[in-house]
Symmetry: C2
Subunit: 300 residues, 2 copies
Amino acid sequence: MIDSIKHVAITGGTHGNELTGVYLIKHWLSSPNEVKRDSFSTELHFANPAANKEVRRYIDQDLNRQFNLQDLKNPELKGCEQQRAKSLNEILGPKEDPRVDFIIDMHTTTANMGMSIIFNANDPLIIGMAFYIKQKMPHANLFYEPSDRLQDNFLTSMGRLSGLLIEVGPIAQGLLNHEIYSETHTAVMHALDYIEKTNSGQTIALPKQMAGYQFIEKIPLPENTEGDITAMVHPNLQNKDYHAIKPGDPLFITLSGETIPYEGDTTVYGAFINEAAYYDQNIGLSFMEKVDIILADNDQ
Amino acid sequence: MIDSIKHVAITGGTHGNELTGVYLIKHWLSSPNEVKRDSFSTELHFANPAANKEVRRYIDQDLNRQFNLQDLKNPELKGCEQQRAKSLNEILGPKEDPRVDFIIDMHTTTANMGMSIIFNANDPLIIGMAFYIKQKMPHANLFYEPSDRLQDNFLTSMGRLSGLLIEVGPIAQGLLNHEIYSETHTAVMHALDYIEKTNSGQTIALPKQMAGYQFIEKIPLPENTEGDITAMVHPNLQNKDYHAIKPGDPLFITLSGETIPYEGDTTVYGAFINEAAYYDQNIGLSFMEKVDIILADNDQ
């Protein structure tokens, strides 16, 4: 049986150039009733104001990779985002026994991932929330990347329960687009409504399983010996997030126009296809497998 | 009568996070025959390597606003891009009497501007080149922003003739997309072919006039007293570059969802609609007027 959720945090701008979350936080700070519910408190946080001020993803490190327990406890880590993670550990945590029960972190992507609900734990409350959002927004994609909460380096892992990351695209960095803004707003409303219904013991009719995608691995862009990329995502693959990639399908195309195929022997599915933020590590896309996400009974 | 073009420069990465031009320059450095023509020399330049290294539009100032003659001669201007402009003045210029005859500068935009040919001078060779490209690529848009070459602050003004800016979108910053890359490649090939034909006295059948758009003004996003934006481009306008905006049409939508209409009394056309790079000045779009671009006889 899950304890009820008493404290929810909504975070935006974890990546400083993803403006949608930043402006939703600004909006809710001036319209707090939209995020107010009777059975829990909701707090709003700009996750990375320093990077947001410069409209950059990060100043020193990706903030959304700084939250595993060892790093939070490591006094040697003194970069801008490493320090910000420690501050957020004080504000929301501490990670081992957090004050905040649940974190909803808002992100955008340059990939054509539509409304993607990213979660890292196979917990009935979290799976239930994802299913509830997908029931309300059937075009939503369920993106599961299993991770132990204390080892997890995402901001969403700072809650007592591992939280939910709302990832919407495609949108360029440093930009607002009303469709993306409105989609994100709607998904957060559903997440809050779900917690409210669960807290108050309302019965929510949810399917026992829904189709989703589980993260396998990140796939590098081809590069030369100097580490400079020599190819880009193939046009057949561009914008085809969550579509099947079969053995032999085109994956990349070189600057000179030669196609590089997928050489695996199983069908995979692409996500984060041509995400600008991953060019700092020369990553072209993520491979996912199609899975059935199972909702266990709450009281098992 | 126009003197023949002897020295052409192709520049990329004038904005360091517009990767298409940067990677086309890299490609042509390893495949120089593609840009080689018999009647003129072609040189290739990374315009802003410092900003490109950090995948930022600029380090200190927008490089593509630093090339007017007064600024080039002003020793007080010592920012990164101000110094780079002075270096490029030595490499390509001097502006008053440039070594290089013609500059083709490659850009991208987050706006849905497709293939846009931007030119600042009403010169038969430049208009002819723009018409030639549009003949070969009928979806191209002719974008005319008149400017005196010595006063002009664009990199393209560093040639003996004011040059051509190839602006392709939509694409996020910090990203390669094969369609955008390929479109830019094709347009540059046509520009070089046109110069080759003109230099060798070949007759090129071109219309006397073509439809285009002339820049009127930049339109700010609504902002509060702290200078923070309070609205975004209206969804009806998003991606509608070069479409008509009539009096009363929706222009912006606030964070709370209220529509702000266009209050002018003449029909205008949008361009650079929701360009991420212009958020640093809270600019939402440019207004353009539809015009007939006239090709004067070369020998008049």
